[in-house]
């Protein structure tokens, strides 16, 4: 199948399909809409360890322990 179409044609089709899915996703009313939403969400969501937008350093920030910082500064930990 892939041999029948150029890369540009395939990219164009993929782009059109994604746009269609995005439109359905944003409508979010029917079963197909929700399916598209779920699919798109799955392929576009990055794992937290590589997603600076959802960086655990920020999401889970509770600060530091002052004694631990003291030990760190002294090179003890």
């Amino acid at each position: 199948m892939s041999g029948l179409f150029s890369k540009e044609t395939r990219d164009e089709w993929a782009a059109k399909a994604t746009m269609w899915m995005a439109a359905r996703s944003s409508r979010n009313t029917t079963f197909v809409d929700r399916l598209c939403r779920r699919l798109l969400n799955r392929v576009t969501t990055r794992p937290p360890e590589t997603d600076f937008m959802r960086d655990p350093l920020i999401d889970n920030d509770q600060g530091f322990d002052p004694d631990e910082l003291d030990r760190y500064q002294r090179g003890e930990s």
Binding site: F52, M53, D55, L57, I58, D61, Q62, G63, F64, D65, P66, D67, L69, D70, Y72, Q73, R74, G75
Partner: protein, 766 residues
């Protein structure tokens, strides 16, 4: 880049400031993060006398302004390798051998040696490299002392990043405007790519503007994350910004989309400009930029008709052989489209009348004309030196109430390359003393081999630093600097805006770390001029500067996050523009006086050498780091284990390279090593080189310089004539010829450097 955090006065007035509850034993301080130069308002939480947490501000207008570098700051500045005591070199220069001395001992010797150099060679034989945002508490005190002793040779990274933009903007309308992000309807990013963890407030402003319907136009050779979100992305050839902007002007002028009334009433040189623009028909622009002419025209029409629009400051145009023309074309576009000093456009704010500004502290008027004329580089490349900028004195006084306006510190600088040549003994006179504060000059300017040679030719080198950078390793004295957690700060937004922001001190500095205020105060005393810094301490200096508000610094800091005068628009209608003519000078009278082309022009790239068939750009800031800093922080390094260049899949394939390979990037000046990331978002023929790499864990001393010899991009940045902007003398970092060849991994390479994956290839190039 300094922090142009624009704000909406109404939003500030109506903001409901509600402090978040904190656990028992925790106190909070309202502070400004100075980990990078964007200066986010944040809150520090303090336990047992030390900052244990940095979180976003309780003030809703600053709520989302925080990044990973700010959050990690309590640990980053508690690093065991932080310099806590003054160090004096005991071995030969760059040997890495030091002894601990007291501040008094160090400053007494430094003062005596500096006086000897000044007596022997003249005051101009002393150069200083710094910027206010790295040191924060300098506030022009360094320039003040330099001006009084007769020394014009102050250099800074702002020469190729925002400071020069400010100076060049003055050529057109006498001030450096700041975009009104809150009300604009169209934002144009020229290569600039603010992200969640770099230039965070600007990133937030752009996202907010887009959410309320503003258009985003991005010019960038790579498909950056902002390009992906743009309404129009123009993937122009690297370094062709000027040609693109000429194309926009061609469309806007030919289709009469400009503000005719403003142009006829407030500008000079429109017909000459039109003639120059006619040299750039869209077909030619399309060829020069590699972009579709229809898309160029469409973008220009959106900018001109769907405004008010803004072209925020971009470091990209600052670092090109056509920098002056590029910055001028941006200012010309702003002006002829009628976007100057209007809501949603670009505001010319002037000084805040209640605050003594840093230019006043600097006292440029005391430096004699004779010494000003000696400023290095001003003969050949005068645009941001005294030679060009003092031509605005009369106009600046007329409009802004004082002769000198050192906007973004960039208006009275020596030229860095000329300064390093003089330091190396190749200039018009010797320079034998070099001070750098919060600055890593070896890696922050072009031509590292020259800078190294220059440093080796010095009689006295003094560094004020937090960590032992490659440059500090070459010093005679390394003095311990404080951090933003350990000092108060009166942040005047680098003279760019008529507002000040205030930051409380959160904790005592460790060891003997001191502020740059203390450094300059002690230096003034040690050279026998204590009267130059008469204030007892930083707080009393701030009290002096804010006295007209009727409050002390602490009272002001308790009363508000930001102190400002409500902006007034179209102020030029009262006093004109701060140019010699009082008008917007599309054709610059100052450039003409200096013997340069008064109109913007485009210098095409020199022919590519067969040996170096690729073009590289550098200057890229990675999220975990700020310039050359923060590579010592384990949490940040884990995100960027090794320096990484980017190539397109096709380019890498043709060269037989694969993701994660170690490669060498080479040109006529030098070479660096890096790992390869393959990015679909990169155009063929272009190499992205990361800025400022060294490895603090590697061996210190001039032989290794903690890896700077292996990795620092400044080894590839040329500063010969073809690669310098004519008017400013700043280097061309956006399109340097190079080649990439496969290399062996260095012995110190991380074993887990390669993180390649198919998915990563498709990510935007940042």
């Amino acid at each position: 880049m300094p922090a142009p955090v624009p704000f909406d006065p109404e939003a500030i007035v109506s903001a409901e400031y509600k402090e978040r509850p904190v656990p028992e034993g925790v106190t909070t301080k309202r502070t400004i993060c100075a980990t990078c130069d964007i200066a986010c308002n944040v809150v520090t939480e303090v336990r047992k006398g030390r900052v244990t947490r940095v979180r976003s501000s309780d003030n809703p207008i600053f709520r989302d302004n925080i990044c990973m570098k700010g959050i990690i700051a309590p640990k980053a500045y508690a690093h065991p390798n932080r310099i806590l005591h003054p160090l004096k070199r005991v071995g030969e220069r760059g040997s890495g051998e030091w002894e601990q001395v007291s501040w008094d001992e160090a400053m007494t010797d430094i003062g005596a040696r500096l006086n000897t150099i000044i007596d022997q060679y003249g005051p101009e034989a002393w150069a200083v490299s710094t910027s206010q945002w790295n040191t924060a508490t300098d506030h022009g005190l360094g320039r003040r002392i330099m001006n009084h002793v007769g020394n014009p040779n102050w250099i800074s990274g702002v020469a190729l990043c925002a400071g020069n933009t400010a100076a060049i903007n003055k050529l057109t309308y006498g001030w450096f405007p700041i975009g009104d992000f809150n009300n604009t309807k169209c934002i144009v990013l020229i290569g600039h790519n603010p992200r969640r963890h770099s230039w965070t407030p600007i990133y937030n402003y752009i996202r907010s503007a887009q959410a309320r319907g503003a258009k985003l136009i991005v010019m960038d050779p790579r498909r950056s994350s902002n390009a992906e979100r743009a309404d129009i992305w123009l993937p122009l050839k690297v370094g062709s910004d000027v040609a693109m902007l000429f194309g926009w002007l061609k469309v806007i002028i030919d289709e009469e989309l400009y503000d005719k009334e403003f142009v006829s009433k407030w500008t000079l040189g429109f017909s000459d400009l039109r003639q120059r623009v006619n040299d750039y028909p869209l077909e030619r622009v399309a060829k020069l930029t590699g972009c579709d002419p229809e898309m160029i025209a469409k973008a220009a029409r959106i900018y001109a008709t769907q405004g008010p629009s803004i072209i925020p400051w971009t470091p990209i145009t600052d670092m090109q052989r056509n920098s002056t023309s590029g910055i001028r074309l941006q200012s010309i576009l702003r002006a002829i489209c009628g976007y100057i000093d209007v809501p949603g456009g670009e505001t010319l704010q002037g000084f805040n009348p209640d605050i003594i500004n840093e230019t006043e502290i600097e006292m440029h008027h005391v430096l004699s004309d004779e010494q000003k004329a000696k400023q290095l580089g001003s003969d050949a490349h005068p645009a941001f030196t005294y030679r060009a900028q003092t031509k605005f004195n009369e106009a600046t006084k007329r409009v802004y109430g004082q002769e000198y306006a050192n906007l973004v510190m960039g208006c009275y600088m020596a030229t860095p390359s000329a300064t390093f040549r003089a330091m190396a003994g190749k200039g018009p006179y010797p320079v034998k003393a070099f001070f750098f504060l919060g600055n890593n000059p070896l890696m922050s300017y072009a031509n590292m081999p020259l800078i190294l040679e220059a440093m080796q030719n010095q009689d006295l080198i003094v560094a004020h630093e937090q960590f032992m950078t490659p440059s500090a390793q070459m010093a005679d004295y390394v003095l311990p600097g404080d951090s933003w957690l350990e000092r108060p700060w009166l942040h005047d937004l680098f003279g760019w805006m008529s507002a000040v922001r205030l930051s409380e001190k959160s904790m005592e500095p460790p060891g003997e770390c001191l502020s740059t205020f203390e450094f300059w105060k002690r230096l003034a005393t040690s050279i026998g001029r204590p009267e130059l810094v008469p204030w007892d301490d930083l707080e009393s200096f701030y009290d002096y500067r804010v006295a007209k508000t009727g409050m002390t610094f602490n009272q002001l800091a308790e009363s508000t996050d930001i102190y400002f005068a409500k902006p007034e628009f179209r102020q030029y209608e009262k006093k004109g523009f701060a140019t010699p003519s009082g008008k917007v000078e599309l054709k610059s009278s100052v450039l003409e006086d200096l013997g340069f082309d008064p109109l913007p022009y485009f210098r095409e790239d020199p022919e590519l050498d067969d040996q170096y068939p690729l073009l590289m750009f550098t200057g890229v800031r990675e999220d975990g780091f700020f310039q050359t800093a923060f590579r010592h922080v384990p949490e940040m390094r884990a995100r960027h284990l090794e320096p990484e260049i980017y190539l397109s899949p096709k380019q890498a394939g043709e060269m037989g390279l694969k993701e994660g390979d170690w490669v060498s990037v080479q040109n006529q000046l030098g070479e660096i090593k890096a790992t390869l990331a393959i990015k679909d978002a990169m155009p063929d023929g272009l190499v992205r080189v990361p800025h400022g790499w060294w490895k603090p864990e590697m061996e210190q001393g001039k032989a290794c310089l903690s890896g700077a010899h292996d990795y620092a991009d400044s080894q590839l940045c040329r500063d010969d004539d073809d690669f310098l902007d004519r008017e400013q003398g700043i280097p061309h970092l956006k399109g340097i010829p190079c080649r990439v060849v496969k290399a062996d991994a260095p012995a110190t390479a991380s074993q887990t450097a390669s993180v390649g994956s198919k998915k990563r290839v498709l990510e935007p190039a940042e």
